[in-house]
Assembly symmetry: C2
Homo-oligomer: 229 residues x 2
């Protein structure tokens, strides 16, 4: 899979897109901490866009759940409470379970299974994720879920799932800091892949549901500092 060579000059996406991307990346990377207030004046300076464009970007990010807006207090990085995270995982569970089901249905109907076969090979090549940094595994993990959603071939579903994944990246990240969780996560992915490749919707759905139920439980065990309030 060859990418076109990385463009160096500020690629000519719209100002609003550039701003939104930069902020989203900043939130994901921790450059902007949860709860942190984002001052328009600072951002217009660092992102080199006008206040109007910046405001359009923050509105969009707020709608996507990355930021929160309070009247006359502007934007801050969204910080979830324990309860909200529990709610969020419950919904994600339902949606990703559906993704698993649909993916299996499509494979059973003869859709291309190369992507999933590749994942199986990749997992079996390193079933414990030995030697993977948290960064890398986080990226792999996201790619896995993305690929599965792609096989499910339901754009609405893809968008809904993405909007649930965004606000919780930070939490998910802290999960994957321990080798134990990484290995466990990979094991669950393997079960999911097998069910999907077998074209067994019920099994794929259950495997995915289990996976997220366990993730949720582990996230809930994180210490208070990870949460709001």
């Amino acid at each position: 899979m060859h990418e076109s060579p990385t463009i160096q000059v500020p690629l000519p996406a719209s100002a609003v897109d550039r701003a939104a991307d930069a902020i989203a990346r900043g939130v994901a990377s921790g450059r902007y901490a949860p709860g942190q207030r984002l001052i328009e004046a600072d951002l217009t300076r660092s992102l080199q866009v006008s206040r109007g464009s910046l405001r359009e970007a923050t509105r969009r990010l707020a709608a996507e759940g990355v930021l929160e807006l309070e009247p006359h207090r502007g934007a801050r990085v969204r910080q979830l409470s324990r309860g909200e995270v529990a709610d969020l995982y419950r919904v994600r569970q339902a949606l990703e379970a559906l993704a698993g089901r649909l993916a299996a249905e499509r494979i059973a109907a003869g859709a291309d299974d190369a992507v999933m076969r590749r994942w199986l090979a990749e997992i079996d090549a390193n079933p414990n994720g030995a030697g993977l940094s948290a960064d890398i595994y986080m990226a792999d993990n996201n790619r896995f879920h993305d690929d599965l959603v792609k096989v499910a071939a339901n754009d609405v579903l893809a968008k809904q799932i993405a909007s649930l994944r965004l606000p919780a990246v930070r939490l998910q990240f802290s999960l994957l800091l321990t080798q134990k969780h990484v290995a466990e996560s990979i094991r669950q992915h393997r079960r999911i892949v097998l069910a999907v490749l077998a074209g067994d919707p019920g099994r794929a759905e259950r495997a995915m549901r289990d996976h997220l139920r366990k993730s949720s439980r582990t996230v809930q065990e994180l210490p208070d500092e990870a949460y709001a309030d």
Copy 2:
């Protein structure tokens, strides 16, 4: 249920909110047809807001799925293709099924069931929805689903469901134009309410899933004119 008396003067919500509300209402009411292009200059005049505020409003509505934005072509009222509507209903099915399940779980756990009992009474008072205009029944229908989601008590879920309902109001509306569908819909609501009141999550989930599966089927039978492409 008493509302505070309707405020006559342009209520002091922010300019962006006013604009977004007005556009959303216009889309729901058909004042702006699906696919119709929304010209900024026209809207700033009719809504009495600046271009900046208007653009923030359209960005938000686009993120909510009400409008579509195309670079250099601006905003247009989102129009769904048959396939997208099918996808959308599949996702809604999963989410509302979860809502049914959670609602039943909460009732079983002792949560207040007054709202649901009221619905049962209302349904049994007029089980065929005789004499209800499509407008009214549409509103009732929305209230029912909203109330159920409220009993489910999961804000994330509520927001996700809302974002799926918005783009399809128009289609749903055309469904409810025939007395047959209204009666059928009420019958299904009754099943759902009974399962929730019984505190039976599995049954509530199935009843809700059935309801949406049937709605989806009926929506798919609408003629081509209702869809894009």
